[in-house]
């Protein structure tokens, strides 16, 4: 019998390692979303994944490792293919007068098109304010902004399975500010088409 070469041994070891990964339950960070994404494991979230492509066994105390492309493909190809068309977000800014800006018309048309591309579109219109004023009052202001935009969408003939109108008031800031701060960029209406 021919003696097993070092190369063959290494290939065998590598295959065992890959097969070993297949046995355990693991998690991987596929996209860190520009540094905002991440995974925390363990009682206190002390085991972390911060970089795209990293994986880690869910159980135990193992360290992060780079998930080989072949492994990722074998395990997740189908779950990745099952991904539906991702939600689309649109944002309308509100002028100090409370009016919509000049680009609004075009943006609303894009919303209608985005809804048309989907078989069962759900459209959520969300009103936002800055932190100036009382929290409860801002929730109402946000709601009125959202209602006005929803009405425009209806007038334009939006067809959706569901049209939801919500307000996040001052609790979903685009630009982080302290309380009682005027910030025009936070006064907006967001439209989520999913």
């Amino acid at each position: 019998m021919k003696p097993i070469t070092l190369m063959q041994t290494m290939v065998l070891l590598a295959m065992t390692a890959v097969a070993g990964c297949a046995q355990h339950s693991y998690v991987m960070l596929a996209d860190d979303s520009g540094g905002r994404g991440g995974v925390m494991l363990g009682e206190e979230g002390q085991r972390r994944l911060d970089a795209s492509g990293q994986g880690m066994a869910i159980a135990g105390t193992g360290q992060a490792y780079v998930v080989p492309d072949m492994r990722r493909k074998a395990d997740f190809d189908k779950a990745l293919a099952a991904q539906p068309a991702l939600p689309e977000r649109f944002s309308l800014h509100i002028a100090p007068s409370g009016a919509l800006d000049s680009t609004a018309e075009q943006l609303l048309d894009s919303v209608l098109l985005a809804a048309q591309r989907r078989d069962y579109p759900v459209v959520t219109v969300i009103g936002h304010t800055d932190t100036l004023g009382h929290r409860a009052a801002n929730e109402q202001v946000g709601l009125r902004r959202a209602q006005a935009v929803a009405e425009l969408l209806r007038t334009k003939g939006l067809e959706a399975m569901e049209l939801r109108v919500e307000s996040h008031g001052e609790r979903n800031l685009l630009i982080a500010t302290p309380d009682a701060t005027a910030e025009p960029r936070n006064r907006r209406v967001e439209i989520l088409v999913r």
Partner: protein
């Protein structure tokens, strides 16, 4: 007068009970998302009933989502989070609340088996602690981004 008040109170309570009960039975929980993609064997179980999943179908907290061999399922939730499953997968949506105005942000699910492709929505941006998926091997906290999980049998 007291007797009369008591009587009136009871009468009111009874009337309220009779009036509210049927209304509650009709009231389904508010949908928190919907099915956006189905291929092959994919199911939704709610209140003990299991049905084939259909595109457009509403998702409510407490439902179990599952796929069989060759099955695939994709769901989009209210904050824009996406859950997509490969074959032989099963997940229970234990709790879901996306109400930033009330400071209520949570997505809690249990992945019992299979593969999950999770894309974190607005929820994670507002509170990095909001999304967690339990598995038989432990809890996975998702701070954001796209996360893939595999729970081996």
């Amino acid at each position: 007068m007291t007797c009369f008040n008591n009587y009136m109170l009871r009468a009111f309570c009874m009337a309220a009970a009779v009036w509210i009960a049927p209304a509650n039975a009709e009231n389904l929980p508010e949908p928190v998302g919907h099915v956006a993609r189905v291929e092959g064997a994919a199911y939704i179980s709610s209140r003990g009933y299991t049905n084939a999943a259909k595109v457009g179908q509403a998702i409510v907290p407490g439902v179990a989502l599952s796929t069989g061999a060759e099955g695939a399922l994709g769901v989009i939730l209210g904050d824009g989070s996406v859950l997509a499953f490969g074959p032989h997968s099963e997940l229970t949506l234990d709790d879901y609340r996306f109400a930033p105005a009330l400071d209520e942000l949570r997505l809690r699910a249990t992945l019992n088996r299979g593969t999950l492709n999770l894309i974190a929505g607005d929820m994670a941006r507002l509170d990095p602690q909001a999304i967690a998926v339990d598995t038989p091997d432990g809890r996975i906290g998702v701070r954001g981004g796209q996360v893939l999980m595999k729970v081996s049998p």
